[in-house]
Amino acid sequence: MSSHELLIGLAGVLVAAAPIVFATIGETFTERSGIINLSVNGTILLAAMASFAVAVNTQSIVLGFLMGMAVGAIVALLVAFSSIALKQSQVAVGFVLTLMTRDLAYFLGNPYMGLQGPRVQNTPIPILSDIPVIGPLFFSHDPLTYFSFILIGLAWWWMFRTRPGLTLQAIGERPEAAYARGAAVNKLRYLYTALGGALVGLAGPTYSLSVKAGWKGTISGLDGIGWIALALTIFGGWDPVRGAIGAYFFALLQWLGLVLQPYLPNVPSQVLQVAPFPLMILTLLLVNIGNAEWVDRTLAGLPPDARRFIQRVLRWMQVVPPASLGVPFEEE
């Protein structure tokens, strides 16, 4: 492969990763506040379909995007509402919604299959896009990809450098204490769920109006992206930057799968396509294994030097979820 092809390929990876970055950062915010939104997978499909439908009918890309974000926010709010107001399990409701929104997407999207819709245009940044290597890589994209770059920085700044961001961490960790300190825990949970949901919804039109333009129903290739975003949220340790890195890594793997295919004719295409998923399991294994009890017991039986070394490695890898993730909070 020529270096030019490589550059184009990598630039493509950045574009393909953008929707995953949106979904991962969105879900990171939602989960940091304490709510787990399992409906992400179906939501992306429904948002993609709905935004495409709106864009086709109104010929307005902006309206399409707004629709996608609205769908994401509404579905996520439904999960939050069922948990906060109705005390139902977030996992159960989220799971039903992930299936139902997918079926809704296929059902309502039927008439739109294969249609041509408006597409987001590329807007290279003048001067910057002419810089060799960096130019085509970072500055020759469409507005959405630019936004995905900015979002990473914005999300990090919000969560770790602002007062409301500290409150966000607090309500996910120990809502009773946050409440005692004056945080309106449940109101904030609704807010961040809506925000996170809107970002997840944003991934939809980013596909159907840009990266994978159009609506192709069951073969749209979007089914599964939501689950990846959920896994990446964990893998990222509920840190938006780390989660985004995971998203780029995932997109890179998918691209590598395509690129390497002709060089490995004996390996069936399915293996390379599905390879990211066992890899996902492996990474989840690595970030979680330190929490297993049998590990503690086995370590205790080892000589102190070996034990301390392994412990240090494990501690470096481990991720710790927000302590009250999935647990509803009762304000009196």
Binding site: L86, Q88, V93, V96, N110, I234, Q270, V274, F277, I281
Partner: protein, 351 residues
Amino acid sequence: MKPRWENLAFATAAVFVALAFTSLVLVTAGASPFEAYWYMLKGSLGSWAKISDVLVAWVPLLLATAGLLITFAAGLWNIGVEGQIVLGGIFTTWVLRLLQDSTLSPAFILILAITAGALGGALWAALAGLLKVFGGVNEIFGGLGLDFVAVALTLWLIFGPWKRPGIGSMSGTEPFPPQLWLPTLPGSRLSLWSLLIGVVSIAIVYFLLSGTYFGLKLKAVGKNPRAAYLLGIPTTRYLMMAFVLSGLFAGLAGAVQVTAVYHRLIPAISSGYGWLGLMVSMLINFQPAWAAPVTFFFAALNIGSIQLPIVLKLDSSLSGVLQGALVLSFLLMGGVRQRWLKKHQQEASDE
């Protein structure tokens, strides 16, 4: 209000809400709800042939649900059930292919193949179990990842080593000769044997969960594993057993799909019965007594919705919309009901 009537009232309200929502969806798609429901009804219960089709779809769904009730009792979200059904189908196909040219009696081959299917599902579930119990990987993600791997495995087999002579195609592997089909009733695709397997399975699960120490201990593990451990229950072993048993029944579902329905391995061998089984389990609030009727109803919805593309140019995923709406509606109404009850209780105690 007496509890019985209360239950009925809430259930009716929940069904009504679900139907209202689905009707709204239909209207948005430009279709008439009554027409759609009518065709679905006709398409599922309109003739004996249709009803037998529903029963054919009922068995694997019932099997998947039966297995899921065990993992739910243990507090597990066995999202890997789809993959377990697939592996059941794969193992069954494998044994059938292996033995189809041998001198063993077809009945014996079928028994071996179906057993293999159950084992295949159990094995795949055990994998998810190991990941969870020893790896700390949440069973939702572990199961999901394995689901994808199972599908990829199926595709590879169908387009690779097990492909039909000529080119591999999405229609699956070479169909097995009729003597390796599970015997069906004359004139229908329904096999009494698969019905038997289904009914016996749910009966076993019912008995296990309500009458035995195993069931009670499993529930304790599901509700509070730390306390269960302190009470002397080997939680790790029980969790693994729950996975294996659930996978066993899922594997049986896959086996039935291969031997009684499709007579070969196809890419969609699990037909979404795993997902559906999860939904049914939630709808019946994990009570085994309701598994049989509700799975029948859901199977009817699936079969009925096949009519929709043909007569109304609608996508058959409407059944999924209705099924999801029903479960969601019951979940939400359940929450509303608890709130209502709590308010009433408070008012009563204030008097």
